[in-house]
């Protein structure tokens, strides 16, 4: 019976929807505005919540290596082993080989000399405070404490290792507050042609989530059975704890913001429905069923919600991108998969906000409303 009554009324139904929105454009606009704000806030928080993890992980890689591979005690890596490590790490991180030797200055002072790929070391350890990086061959990067002893005037100096002497000049100093301050860094070529030693340690800054780092760790353990492959727990555990806390702070903030926005949509729309009780009373008085009125209101709310959600989605994506640019100097990529939850959420909230007060109005006689009571 319902279908029969509804079918000739369909164009009328649409016309009512359009006219209602147009005639009461002020109230409709303020309702739409509230929905846009709510949708924008939810979109921005969803975007940030997903993206901030990876952005912060990048910051945490500034702490340097989270995996260290050491050759067997007293041994070193064959070129083959280094290739295997490099192919395992590939683009998922930076792998930097280090070779160490104890050399002596002309005055007999022992000093640790490290040979490494200086380009990569610079990428691995951004916290090194380096006055200037070596550019050419036979240039060394000297720790600040070592510099005082071997090259106090910054001039050239000589080091011996098992009877072989190398003449070096100091390109600059490195300050870290740790062991590096007492060492001297050379390019791997210079180091190897002087000492003939191969790298014995590879430090790896592996990118990605805990699961990705763990899988790289087990792959390395599998590929290099003799070597000691260890996660640097100081770095990995600190990162996990702080990321977790930041994540929950963000989650709670997101919940708070979304709840406020949703409740204000509720308040605005409830007011909007109560405001129009006369319209509904008239509809009822001229024979509209409760069902028809509910469908009419729900249709109107759904249209509003969809429009609001779409506009809010665009605005929210913009806000997230702006926050990303300001804080992380990299925009937060727009996520289309945030649209369905935002859309569904908006429609749900608007439907609740409109149909609930409508139920209250249903019990009131049209005559009473029309009389203004």
């Amino acid at each position: 019976m319902n279908t029969r009554r509804r079918s000739p009324g369909t164009p009328m139904f649409l016309r009512m929807l359009a006219r209602a929105a147009f005639l009461r454009k002020r109230t409709a606009l303020s309702a739409l505005f509230a929905i846009i704000v709510a949708a924008a806030a939810s979109t921005a928080m969803l975007n940030l919540f997903v993206d901030v993890q990876s952005k912060l992980r990048k910051e945490f890689r500034g702490f340097g290596a989270n995996i260290v591979v050491e050759a067997k005690k007293g041994g070193s890596f064959a070129p083959d082993d280094l290739n295997r490590i490099n192919s395992a790490v590939a683009t998922h991180g930076v792998a930097v080989p280090f070779a160490y030797a104890v050399a002596h200055t002309t005055r007999g002072q022992a000093i640790v000399v490290a040979g490494t790929d200086l380009e990569l070391a610079r990428k691995l350890n951004p916290w090194w405070d380096v006055s200037s990086w070596p550019q050419g061959p036979a240039q060394a990067l000297v720790g600040v404490r070592a510099a005082k002893i071997i090259a106090p005037d910054g001039g050239p100096f000589a080091l011996t290792y098992q009877g072989r002497t190398i003449h070096l000049s100091s390109a600059g100093t490195v300050r870290t507050g740790a062991g590096e301050d007492s060492r001297l860094y050379l390019s791997l070529q210079d180091f190897q042609s002087w000492t003939g030693l191969q790298p014995s340690v590879v430090e790896i800054a592996a990118y990605g989530s805990v699961a990705e780092v763990t899988s790289l760790l087990s792959r390395l353990q599998h590929d290099l059975p003799g070597a000691g492959v260890n996660a640097v727990r100081q770095v990995t555990e600190g990162e996990a704890s702080i990321l977790g806390k930041t994540r929950s702070t963000l989650l709670w903030s997101a919940l708070l913001i979304v709840c406020t926005a949703a409740l204000c949509v509720l308040a605005t729309l409830t007011g909007w429905i109560f405001d129009r009780r006369r319209d509904f009373a008239i509809m009822k008085a001229i024979g509209g069923s409760d069902w028809l009125i509910a469908a009419f209101v729900a249709g109107e709310a759904a249209v509003l919600a969809c429009a609001g959600a779409l506009l809010g989605f665009v605005a929210g994506t913009g806000i997230a991108a702006w926050i990303g640019r300001v804080n992380f100097h990299a925009p937060v990529a727009p996520r289309l998969d945030a649209l369905p939850p935002v859309l569904i959420g908006c429609v749900l909230v608007t439907l609740i906000a409109t149909l609930l007060p409508l139920r209250l109005l249903r019990h009131i006689q049209p005559a009473m409303i029309l009389k203004g009571e």
Binding site: S30, A110, T176, A178, T260, T270, V326
Partner: protein
Amino acid sequence: MFVRLVYESVRRQTRRKLLMATAVTLGAAVATAMIAIATDIGDKISHELRAYGANLVVTPADDSLDVQIGSVDLKPRGGAYLSEADLPKIKGIFWRNNITGFTPELSVNVKVGSADATLVGTYFAKTLKYGNQEFTTGARKTFPWWKVNGAWPADDSNQLLVGERLAAEGGTKSGGKIQINETAYPVAGIVSSGSSEDEEIIAPLSVAQKLAGQPGAVGKLFVSAVTKPEDAFARRNPDSLTPADRDRWYCSPYPQSIAFQLQEVIPNSHAEQIRQVAQNEGNVLSRIEGLMLLITLAALFTSGLAVSAAMATAMFERRQEIGLMKALGAGQFALSAIFITESVLLACVGGLVGFAGGALLARKLGQTIFGSAIAVEPVLLPLILAIAILVTFAGSATAIRRAVKYDPVHALKGEA
């Protein structure tokens, strides 16, 4: 009459007023909680960042070099040491409350059986006294990533921790014994850290001092301090600053100024930041702080807009009321005054309740996330009230202005 009008309006239209008040309350609560979180997050995260361990290191002020590769120390013994007796003085520096812990270290080359090994003396969880203040510090606090299989040794015992890899090589078990320089020491546990400690023996400081023949000596001191991210001002040389600037530098918890103060209390020492920890801490901290600040701004903006929208709707609904008052002869000024007073009243009540709710919320969130409450500064209350009043006013002002301008006839007929 004015007071009565406002009073009756609040009393009669409870549903509408409640709705408006709820909107303001929610907005104020979220604003309070978010501002509290944003202002406190730096402090909370820097405590969390202490999981990275010490960010400052104090060494004797001599020019000798460490000759150390991994855990093998090739440095000839001797030279300068710090004095263990000076350590409690750390709790007397200006930023003492920012020092979350410190751990001395004295490494000695020893023979385990016939092999060379490094034994490191340290505090595990030692209780020290400065004045009448007692505090506990040691490796358990500054190196939270050390995992011990077995038990932690007591600081006044001669029990040891043996590094994981060293233990595996020698077949040492926790609860067993290990032969060091012809003496057998009980092993309390096996320690794993993922770095050089895995190949070392960790002993109470007094044991290391005895083995080294250096009573009261400390080779190195690791200090874990809550610091502020370094900026250009922090990097200035304190000696080149004007007295006023120097005071400001000294009284800011920069890694540099805390290092400077450590150097002041420990004679013949050189304190420096461990850049790997200190620098990156600063980066991570400022990123998270910045993020929360921006999110808080967004939250304030959102709740402001939402409250404004709710207010505008509520005001717009009342145009008939306004029309009636106008028809009875109320002037534009009197009308605006009534409605604005109402809004401000509402904003104050909503703001107060919201502030209390927000403070409670921030406390709870702090407990859940960080395990310590986030305190809300009372200074925030006037700010929140001001924001609430401003937002309510902005939301209702346009609606009031429009309503006041209506022709009462149209408004009363419901045609507006």
